[in-house]
Symmetry: none
């Protein structure tokens, strides 16, 4: 209409960056709204592309979601597995190490929204739940049980049912993330994440410690 063209291209071609721009946007929206309530159109808008472009790279909403998980959590799991395999030292240190790594790679990043997301949607999207369970949870739990087993074997931890112990160990951490991404918004004052995570691991270690050992035992000596 106006005379001055100097027109910008309607779009530019960036095949290799697009997918990760889209998963990044998708992570944000999924975490904000949940899987079901996320509109692919919103994801597209946030990634700065059109609806159709999302389908160019991902066959369906489900596949997009899986891609997000794959990109964000699988590497973190793999990293943790390496830590466990390579660890020399006390089981307590190994657990501290795992928690710290998890916090850095997942908990304190946008991926920290995924646990709440999976919990929310697993009932309604069994296929996604299964994928997440097989690819993430099983491996994470195996790691924890391995660390706990070592500690019990060495006498560092008291002897307990492994599954129970494992559940007790991860609860405070996952619960924290879940809380942050759900009801925390109603709170007036909230916990400092870093401090909480530090306290939580120590509390867990006290709970695990064999009599006569553990943080408080040392303190008494």
């Amino acid at each position: 209409m106006v005379s001055a063209p100097a027109r910008q291209p309607r779009w530019t071609r960036r095949k290799n960056v697009r997918p990760s721009e889209i998963t990044a946007a998708a992570l944000e929206v999924f975490v904000e709204k949940g899987f079901a309530a996320t509109r692919l159109e919103d994801v597209a808008a946030r990634a700065g592309v059109s609806k159709g472009t999302v389908y160019l790279y991902f066959d369906s909403k489900e596949e997009l979601f899986k891609a997000v998980v794959r990109e964000g959590l699988i590497p973190a799991i793999a990293e943790a597995e390496k830590r466990v395999a390579g660890h020399r030292g006390s089981a307590s240190d190994l657990l501290r190490d795992l928690v710290r790594g998890w916090w850095q790679l997942v908990g304190s990043t946008p991926y920290g929204g995924l646990p709440k997301l999976m919990i929310s949607e697993s009932r309604n999207f069994p296929e996604i739940a299964r994928f997440y369970y097989e690819e993430v949870i099983i491996r994470a739990h195996r790691l924890l049980r391995e660390a706990l087993r070592r500690g019990m074997e060495s006498g560092e931890f008291r002897s307990m049912d492994l599954n129970t112990a494992q559940f007790l160990v991860f609860s405070p951490f996952i619960m924290f993330l879940v809380w942050q991404h759900s009801l925390a918004c109603c709170e007036s004052e909230s916990l400092d994440p870093g401090a909480y995570v530090g306290e939580a691991i120590e509390m867990v270690l006290r709970g695990l410690a064999a009599p006569g050992t553990g943080p408080q035992a040392k303190a008494r000596r």
Copy 2:
């Protein structure tokens, strides 16, 4: 059509019973599907009434949901508040008592699905979240902090940040419920609830115990 002979009413239902039949049905469906995915039609069908009848008693899906919470959790909270107010004895026993009561009134009942539900939907339904936070969570947390404060004051528990401690105390229990209502369906073998809850409270108490006291200290003596 015909002269209506001593006609029996097609339905006889006491007005005051209806609402709770509907909330009971609603609880089930909400827990199964979540708030957003619940179809009022399913709720109506499960309550044995028609869709329109639901709107006779509840203005909207949201109001129905609030009614469910009100009916299920507020009484349990009130009950717990009474326990705390009336408790004489160690803080450990008080905590054990609270957990036991919570498990009986909430955890082991259909209402046990509510925490996961609230976590899932709070982001998308802030009004509901706020309601739940004000009516349930604040009061529950206050209870826990009171018990913890007493224990710290008496020297039974070590001195910690109250908010942190409170979060650490409820995490294993809420996380357990959340898990049962979400990803547990993917598991092959699952924990025994009663045993887990028992173990969890003891573990928490160990974690809280002041040096030289607590379960393991007693055991050592």
Copy 3:
């Protein structure tokens, strides 16, 4: 806005008439546009209801289509089967009778659009094709073969492969309908349907007639 209400209800309740109003509208639109290109919204509009109402009575576009066929063709087939079963007289008369009945109940009615429709969509909607084949075509062809078999047995028709003969018999009639509902719109002058159907059946009978019989034989005598 204005003061005078006298407002008309937004809709009225007519459960028992609605389904057939909808199938009638659907038949029209399906015949006009084909199955794939028909928008349920158009069907709804033509039936004077909303989109949602269509789904109240029919689970899907496919089910709606099947309902149209069921309503329009199955009764006609059943009627024809009765004719064949009850017929006493020459095979030629039976065929004439069948053609006449078909023309009255199907050919000259809006259902006359269905053959073209099925031909058009069968490749892309195999489920519909199968339904139509099983419920309509098989039965129609069986009828024709039965009439032809009788004529050959009695010496009225010359002996031919039954399937071939059957195909040759229905071709001019179905082709005529198909033509009317497709390319006829390009024609400047078109055949008179009644006259065509009359000519066609006589031509078919000549083609079938055993030597020394048939229309032309009689004429010669």
Copy 4:
């Protein structure tokens, strides 16, 4: 990357070959799926080119379709016109000849799918319908009428309305193709095409024959 040594072109394709490769692929896909359901992407893939390339040679899906028809049917029509113009002998033989030619050039080739295709899409794509009608159908019908006229004039065929006769003549053949490309897929056993076509022409000739002539008359003599 490297200095491009005597580089060979990645593709060498003669401009003039491309279009017909594309129309050949298009014919296949159009016949399989119909016009509306055909994805240009599939056509491109089957032709071994990219989607954009199709648009290099054809302005739109419609133009591509017209090109297919032009390539496949116009030459066959022209050929048939030559046969009629050059024919010396009986009208029956001329008809046999035309049918045989049509079967060889169209019926038994991939172009045999076009009649069903045109019938299916003519309502929704009037421009295509008109094109087909003007370029193909009018000419084909004119041919048939000419052959019939000669036969009636010579007394070989009985006297009938030309348009009716013409319709009756082509029906069994076009119907057969249409059937093969639509509902035949539901059949368990199907007719042998060659045999059917042979039978059909004889049947048609019997139907046309003037009394005392025609196949059965000869047979009787």
